[in-house]
């Protein structure tokens, strides 16, 4: 990995990235203004949210929903939009809606 905050003399010429897979170092989670929250009790583990997440930010283990990866989740809300399972009283928001709901970042 190139040195962080390299000076212009140290930075790679032409912006070439010399290591493969280095985009993993780029934590896009800082872009988020809203974050998805999940109701683990009601989730059916259909994984529709996992299929649709454009940032591979939904962690699945053994075919089951495990967590959001907030290092990379940009808060786009696609998972909340596609989740097919309705809830009356969400574990985190206590709102009626879906298993995944969006809340303001920091709330």
């Amino acid at each position: 990995m190139a040195k962080e905050n390299a000076s212009w003399r140290e930075a790679n010429i032409g912006g070439i990235v010399l290591e493969a897979g280095s985009s993993a170092e780029y934590k896009t989670g800082s872009w988020r203004t809203e974050r998805p929250v999940h109701d683990a009790q009601r989730c059916t583990h259909c994984l529709i949210c996992w299929i649709h997440c454009p940032d591979s930010a939904i962690v699945v283990e053994n075919g089951r929903w495990v967590a959001f990866d907030y290092d990379y989740c940009k808060g786009c809300g696609i998972c909340a939009a596609v989740c097919p399972v309705k809830v009356e009283d969400h574990e985190h928001t206590h709102q009626e809606g879906k298993v995944i709901q969006m809340v303001m970042e920091g709330e």
Binding site: W8, A11, G14, G15
Partner: protein, 397 residues
Amino acid sequence: MVMATKVALDGAHAVSEAMRQIDPDVVAAYPITPQTAVVQRFSQFVADGRVNTEFVAVESEHAAMSACVGAAAAGGRVMTATAANGLALMWEMLYIAASMRLPIVMPVVNRALSGPLNIHCDHSDSMGARDAGWIQLYSETAQEAYDNTIQAIRIAEHADLKLPVMVMQDGFITGHGVERVEVADDKDVREFIGKYAPEHSLLDIDNPKTFGAWDMYDYYFEHKRQQTDAFSKAMPIITAVGKEFGSRFGRNYGIFDAFEMDDAEMAIIVLSSTAGTCRTVVRDMRKQGVKIGMLKLRVFRPFPAAELARALSRVRAVAVLDRSISFGAHEGAGPIFMELCSALFAAGSDAKVVDYIFGLGGRDIFPQHIEQVVHDLKEIASSGKVKSQVSYLGLRE
């Protein structure tokens, strides 16, 4: 001395000869007058199996430069050629090629930018691209276009530069004018340019890398500073390559060509084919005892500010001949005038500088026009007064 063959070639064909000898890995190009002959002849070389080049016949100049960028990032020695509106269509990719530090070499056969529609020579095309991050070499003759194209490979690929290079010649005047051109032996040219060994390449699959990645406010600025740093190293490299070319092929190249400058009190600065007309006038004027000299610029990017200020340090009046206009600039001046004025100002010179716009859209320039310039310079040198900062040669008033 090396083997060379003297042949009758126009400037465009002289450049395609150079391209044949360079034998690039990839040429992606689209035809446009007056560059067409370059690519047409080169594609014939490809069809006849005389080069090993992968020729990509693209659907536009934007695609041509895009393909060149990809091929150069893949580690190839890459060339294309264009003119005028074709160059304009490449605009976006010109900047990308330069900022990715891809040493692409591109002959440009200068032609006026439309509109109104015109296919003849002026420098509005390449001058418009002067801030794109390409080195720019201008050629007076077909011979110079040939020689500059070969040298451009060495300059572009130099490890300290990694900058793309444009090699200009005047459309029709040089591009279609047949001259005697010394074509060097293929082997000598190949020895001179050497093999290209890119430091990084996309095809180096054992060491995968990313080219042209997202570059935010945290790094873009540093990469721009690196580009300008490369330009600051270019002049000695261009000079050294020109010297080495001279010792091998017998024709020396510097940053500019000084003619009758030793004791000159007045000077004309000019690019490309018009230098021939100026040289004749300067020679005639010298016979009449007029202390006039001429600087023919070869390298416009990087601009040889310090070198020009030094060459003009004893000159009292300077006339710049600009074959393009920077619309809205001071008095509607041309780019060479503005660059020269800032160079002389920075050097503390008190020489008077005037600009002459000429030859737009292929308008002829005659010795009488240059004589008029010398006449004006004499008046400025003796009175110290400038009547008109920017004038026009050959324009119907």
